[in-house]
Amino acid sequence: MEKTILIVDDDAELRQLLHEYFTERGYAVLLADGGGQMWEQLKDNDVELVILDLMLPGEDGLSLCRQLSTQSSIPILMLTARGDEMDRIVGLEMGADDYLHKPFIPRELLARVKNILRRTGEGQSEQRNARALHFSGWTLDVDARHLVDSAGVIVSLPAGEFRILKTLAENPNRVLTRDQLLDVSSGREAGPFDRTIDVMISRLRRRLRDDGGDAALIKTIRSEGYLLATKVERRA
């Protein structure tokens, strides 16, 4: 079925180009040049994803994003010309599901759109506002993509390990197989002798000062996979 995307950007030519690009790839595309048109389009149509430019004249893209995310559960992909890490975090805090800076590579935009639509299709959209996961004195900051210990020390994680820990923390006390974890960490299938996940888990344990014994945070379930054996608290 055709998915409907609403593109909010003040540059008419870019709107047109994006319209063509997504239409050619099988999406129904609606356009808006700012907040006013955006609210009208949302009223009249069923929209599955909003691509929102952060740098809108008049009403700020960030405040539009906040309003939209509090009033509806439509996923938002933020576009900005700033390309600033701080903006990314602020945008995500304002309720955006993902972030891409201009000038983006069209194929990457397409991939992100597909990804968000797939996630919302799987019913994970209600989780998108969990910005931090707390467990056993640790905080996993989802926006900044790092761990913070009980003393406030920032512990960076490589992208793959971050995704594994995030998945484990989003599904506490549930066994996740190596295949599932490999899929989230690198998007590929595990071969029969693939040890990548085991290496990443052992690094994560070291970061979490976890000795892997009986009191282990990340427990190894023989021939199945791993689980995070602790209570996880979500915070928006």
């Binding site: 390309g83 890490e85 900044a144 761990l147 960076s156």
Partner: protein, 509 residues
Amino acid sequence: MKFLPRTLFGQLVLSLCLGLLAAQAVGIWLTLSDRARFGDGLLGAFAAQRIAGVITILDEADPGDRARLVHALNVPPTHVSLSNTWDPSSDDGEVARSFIEHVQQQLDKPVTLQVTSIKRAEPRRRDDGTLPPPGDAAPQGAAPGVSPPVEQQPASAPAGSAAAASSSAANSSVAAISAASNTDRRSNRHARLSQPVVFVTGQARLSDGTIVQFRHSLPEPGIDGPIRLLGLLVFLGLSVALLSAWAVRRLTQPLASLAEAATGLAQNLDRPPLPENGPREVALAARAFNAMQRDFKRTLDTRAQALAAVSHDLRMPITRLRLRLERLDEGELRDKMDGDLTEMDTMIGNTLEYLRAGSIIEKACKIDLEALIESITEDITALGATVRQHVQNGALVTARPLALRRCLTNLMDNARRYGGGTVEVSTVEQGKFLLIIVEDRGPGIPPSELERVFEPYVRVEVSRARHTGGTGLGLAIARTIARSHGGEVTLENRPGGGTKATLSLPMHA
């Protein structure tokens, strides 16, 4: 000259105190000599007048009445006696001669006059200057048991002669006598309680040949003056020295902070403005400095804004171009155009990052350095490099997380690009700093270029850098970030080839 203080404060205080000391010395000397001259003039003039009076009376008197007159005139402080013998001893000193001259001026007609001695003695009783009984030739004999008189050398006493030379003709001789006694007195302080006296002994031949011998004693003026005077001057000197030290400190303090501000300006253009107080000239300098800082900042901000605006606005056409490219058929041309667009994008991104590098919007946190380096290592390894690390376990730094990550990523990525594939990262504590050392075994950097590569848009060997997509901003960004944390980035060539980049960060920022 090395004993001279180097600071403006020290030099000013020293010269003020030296000037004050000199002025006080002159002041003390002038006061004392003036005072001596005043006292001496009074006493000396009295002595000369009296002697002249005695001589005139005796000269004009009937020889038969002289004995009676001598008895009547023999009143302290003048002892008069008649004699038939002319004492051969004589004092030919300058003081004696001028005393005679002075007496002569008071006489109606010239009389042969001679001073036999000017001597100093310590009388038994301080209120009586004419203790020695009549006929006692040696005055000092009148005061047995008292310290012996000091040899009188009036002509050679500098204060005395100076006073004599500078005083008026009428007072010169007598002033000299008393000044001489002053000099003497000063050298004999222990005798203060029994007031010293100067005896002027002389003889005159009256017109009929009778010889009159006289001895006049000059009591000295009060002696406690100099001590009190000195105390006052010491007090004055101390208070002026303290006051001038305070005033000079007030003057030099703003200068010191001005110098400090000028030094710090290069590091931090956002430093708070100087207080515009102190003396007017200093306040003006501070105001001018603050204005200069504002102008600098405005100029730099304007240029940064212009650069940011251009970079920023370029992103829109690049985005559109990329979407337009999608409409072209796949092929070499499209790939090359795509590569060009990516390069433009990188340059813009780096420029914006450089302009932002020193900004402090982000909050500083404690960061686990080992985890950070491992996380960057992961990214660098994914781009095809071998990373060896020797990082202290549990090393913590306080820094802005994203900025520090950018800084370290730039250094490690540089080592990957130009370092031949192997990157070594290690940490060392050095004093108050934590050093993060990134080394490679690449061709290194020509020594003349080691500093220049930190300038924005400067690259070593342009052709190679272009191949690897560098924009010449990586090191400039890294250094700006390090400096905004109170640290530094330096580069050096390793013995045996390769480059060593050192990022130093204060451990307790």
